[in-house]
């Protein structure tokens, strides 16, 4: 069991973007998803027990090895943020408005906002709903969980 746990740890280390259970199963050569889930939970607990700077997280069914929140400030200068500056500005603007037409975002943030919106939807930070000819954009639950904010909290 410890051998498989080590394999999982190595896999998570090598893929910063994380892996699905299916991918872990393929690469580790373990077909039992139940066993993998048990080992992933154990690994998660191991990391939290040993006061490591890292933790194992499960975000939208993606298992990842990441730096614990309390150490983000320490690594701020040496590690790139996972959302680029321009994309983050677009996200912040949409979150500030709570709900806004895509056309309005593009008018304010330029044509590049189309790419930003696409990336943010793909990463689960935004959701898009049809609103006549345009689309309405709103921050998702993942956005609030990620930044530890509440939906009723005004962003300003």
């Amino acid at each position: 069991m410890e051998g498989i746990k080590g394999q999982i740890e190595a896999l998570l280390h090598c893929r910063p973007k994380g892996l699905t259970l299916e991918e872990i199963s393929n690469h580790a050569g373990v077909s039992s998803k139940g066993l993998l889930k048990k080992l992933l939970n154990e690994l998660q607990e191991d990391y939290s027990k040993r006061a490591s700077g890292l933790n194992i997280i499960n975000q939208d069914s993606i298992w990842k090895m990441s730096v614990k929140d309390e150490h983000i400030e320490t690594i701020q200068e040496i590690a790139r943020p996972e959302i680029s500056k321009a994309v983050l500005e677009t996200l912040a603007y949409i979150a500030h408005k709570k709900s806004i037409r895509q056309a309005d975002v593009v008018r304010i943030r330029s044509n590049k906002a189309y790419g930003h919106i696409k990336e943010l939807i793909e990463n689960g930070f935004l959701e898009s709903k049809k609103d006549g000819a345009s689309k309405k954009l709103c921050p998702t639950r993942k956005f609030y969980e990620y930044f530890k904010l509440t939906e009723d909290q005004p962003l300003e």
Partner: protein, 256 residues
Amino acid sequence: MGTKKIYDAIFSENNIKWQSIIYELIRSKKVDPWDIDLSKFSEEYMSTISKLKSLNFRISGKVVLAAALMLKIKTNHLGLDDFILLTNDDEEPIEEFEYDEDVYIDPDEKRILNLARHIRHNTKNKYLIEPRTVRPRQRKVTVIELMSALKKAIEVDKRREQKRVAVEKNIIPEEIFEAKNNLLPEQIETLNKKILELFEKTKAKILFDHLLEKGDEVDRVQTFLPILHLANNGKLSIHQERPFEKIYLEVLNGRD
């Protein structure tokens, strides 16, 4: 098993080229080129050397070359190129299987390398995780960064709004030129006739300024829009060397 076969191929003293044998072994799938134990390879070589009464340099050269080829194929397959480059920081990056036009390469050897490259390309998707040790990691974005991004985004929003208001202030509704309403098919036809007449006279490129009547801004726009239509229909070609310089028109089809 694979190592033994390749070893035998290299050490055969007959005229069959060992490169051809390796190629055939890989092609017929009798040997997995990714599963050759290089340590066994050198062990067998050492034991043969000790059996030989005199050292055969031809054989040792062949072994070194074959081992180097196998190692290169294996390294590429495992995606360890970056690892090798990391350990040789001062050296120039090694080009992958580049051949110098002037250096003779055995066709069979070339075929082995091409085959290896082909197999590697086709099996690439199986190896989604590359065994690289150094990987830049990305970190989570903090709420402070989100707030500072928001501050910047709001500043941009305000700046754009101020610009928009400033532009709108200068617009006098009576002076808005409605191009669509003014652009009638007759206008396009009239201008086309004018251009063709000028072309008949000069048989050269026509200066846009020669088509203007008043020469003011509205006249320029009113004249240029039909020209865009004519150019779009393939009747004209528009030339301007640099922005804001003279515009020349070239008649493409001559008189209709």
